[in-house]
Symmetry: C2
Subunit: 381 residues, 2 copies
């Protein structure tokens, strides 16, 4: 039998790593779950609900984690939490593997084994554990709902006795998980939706959601489109033509949502200051990459800023603004991952360190960093 401890998150993080539903699944697997009192409240899960589901309530974070074999967090915790844990216990969370390498090294040195859920391999088997997908999906929804709530016009076309309200034009830059949900949400709300992506193969997905793909569709594009995936780097000439097309397109949009992230690197700039200034006053931009440097040149991290009449929303933690769903999906991701670590019959921990999902997410073991990229960052930084 194993013990799972869940401390409260910091003040900027409303999500939590277990829900009453996930507690049930964990206890069914023979685990005992101990959660810090009140830790679920910002996701609207009460101590009573956790208790009914079979969890025990701890009086403090330290009490919740001290005997735990596994500790579940949303964010990378303070080092004091790791120091309250047993040596060799597992700390699983979104540990920001590419941020603050020294802090991560210090965390590793406590002897706690660290797993960063962001590093989950993108293989079929691991889809149920893919926190980037589960959280990005909700973030893409929230980005468009936020934009709609801020925009000074309605999104759908409305036919009224006094005349017709025209539909708003929404442009989604980057058609990954967040971008696709943003497209779907803007379409639901009745907007005229276009999208773009550096992968020509994204065209089909964009169109399947009823949006128009914006790209220079020359021979080079068509070749890359059928080749599929991330493979092909487009020519400089193509990139120039595409950039001009985007600039032309941007100035006629009412709402733009940017979603481009590159793992382990700063976010690419998708909208320059000049492009922002080409938009009509009253337009709204949501920069979903603002925590990683931002896709929009004039975005202000963590703020809702205005630049020459254009509102640029640079909120941190959009999934945290739909915490009930975000916690629920995240907790399911975690349970699926924990089930990989268990000996199903005995209910004990039985980690196969060569298993792709364990190897992929493990960043520290027995006091040292085991992830090569992070180890590299440590040396260079």
């Amino acid at each position: 039998m194993i013990t799972i401890g869940v401390p409260a998150e910091g003040k900027d993080e409303p999500r939590i790593g277990v829900t009453p539903e996930s507690v049930k699944r964990l206890t069914k697997n023979g685990a005992e779950v101990l959660i810090s009192s009140g830790a679920g409240l910002r996701s609207h899960f009460s101590d009573e609900q956790y208790k009914e589901a079979g969890a025990k309530i701890a009086k403090s974070d330290a009490e919740a984690v001290k005997a735990a074999d596994i500790v579940l967090t949303v964010r990378r915790p303070d080092i004091s939490l790791a120091k309250s844990m047993k040596k060799g216990a597992l700390l699983i969370g979104m540990l920001e593997p590419f941020g603050d390498p020294k802090g991560l090294d210090a965390l590793a040195k406590t002897g706690v084994n660290l797993f960063a859920m962001e590093l989950m391999p993108r293989i079929t088997r691991a889809q149920v554990m893919d926190v980037l997908s589960s959280q990005s999906n909700l973030a893409g929804y929230k980005a468009v709902v936020d934009a709609a709530a801020t925009f000074g016009r309605a999104l759908p076309m409305m036919m009224t006795a006094a005349g017709t309200v025209p539909a708003a034009k929404v442009f989604i830059m980057g058609a990954g998980v967040a971008g696709l949900q943003a497209i779907a949400t803007a379409r639901r709300l009745g907007a005229i939706v276009t999208a773009t992506d550096v992968r020509p193969a994204a065209k089909e997905q964009v169109e399947s959601l009823g949006a128009k793909f914006v790209a220079v569709e020359d021979d080079e594009f068509k070749e890359a489109e059928t080749a599929g995936g991330y493979a092909k780097e487009m020519s400089a000439a193509y990139k120039k033509k595409q950039a001009d097309l985007i600039s032309d397109h941007v100035k006629n949009q009412d709402i733009i949502v940017t979603t481009a992230l590159i793992p382990g690197r700063p976010a690419p700039v998708l909208l320059t200051k000049a492009q922002v200034e080409s938009m009509k006053p009253g337009s709204v931009i949501v920069d979903m990459a603002v925590e990683r440097g931002g896709n929009v040149e004039v975005a202000k991290p963590g703020e809702i800023a205005e630049h020459k009449g254009v509102t640029i929303m640079g909120k941190f933690n959009l999934p945290g603004e739909v915490p009930v769903n975000a916690s629920s999906l995240y907790a399911k991701n975690l349970v699926s991952f924990i089930e990989v670590m268990l000996d199903k019959e005995k209910g004990d921990l039985a980690l196969d360190w060569e298993d792709e999902v364990i190897k992929g997410t493990a960043i520290a073991k027995d006091g040292g960093i085991v992830n090569e990229m992070i180890a590299g960052n440590l040396k260079s930084g």
Copy 2:
């Protein structure tokens, strides 16, 4: 030829009574339009756009109105504005005919003729001038978008690799213009939508939008339903059964939007404190009647309040939060009304005081109140 003056609105009112589009229509009718500099900015209409459309820009509100035959406002203006106007000129706006009768009387005594757009008769011919409809429609949209942006969960059902996000339950109380648009918007966003109304005849409209009508459907209801309209007062026994049904229904809802207004009287209470407390923590209520006393017992006028974990949004002026569309439709309503007042050939004012739309909206003429209900309010207050 007539002159139309448009002053800037007060700081709480982002809407404006003319748009570049409406200026074109007014000038085509032979009118000269004078708008106070910057008056359209909060609806994203610039002085340049007004000038291009054929308007002149005035340096001040007093300058905009002093020679005007008609002055267009959104809200009831300060008495100083009326004093800057010519005697016998027309002031047309949403003058709150049932608020502050003494203030209205003082406004009337300036000798300006007052027309309250809220009093537009609800006849087929006047639909294009119906400001309550045009503004309520947008308010109903914004109420649901605001609720979605505040709610800690997504509205649509989402099927993801980590599991299914369930659709939210949205209940719309009152199926007038605002309520019907709220239903349509919540449906667009993928929520499970129910609605109720004191008029059994509303059932058909609610169902045509894909929502379920919540009512005790006994023989009395069925009779009233086919009788149609506002006519039938339901029995006390029916009302009790219906109230119990609503109470039962309310506790399972995630989002409730209340929209009930009675012209000239305080808004009816639709949700008691106990009913609010029966809802799950994290639920969201939008009280659209908060400016008229509110439909929700614990709503705070002008505020976003929390009551035992339930968020109650009591924002003033929801149409003002989609000012571009709201101004555009309002301006169209006004132009249609002004066209009734014009001699089309000469382009001069030619008011037929017996015309139903003029008689219905006129509240003061030649220094005195002419609307009987307001005159009555003055005597009793």
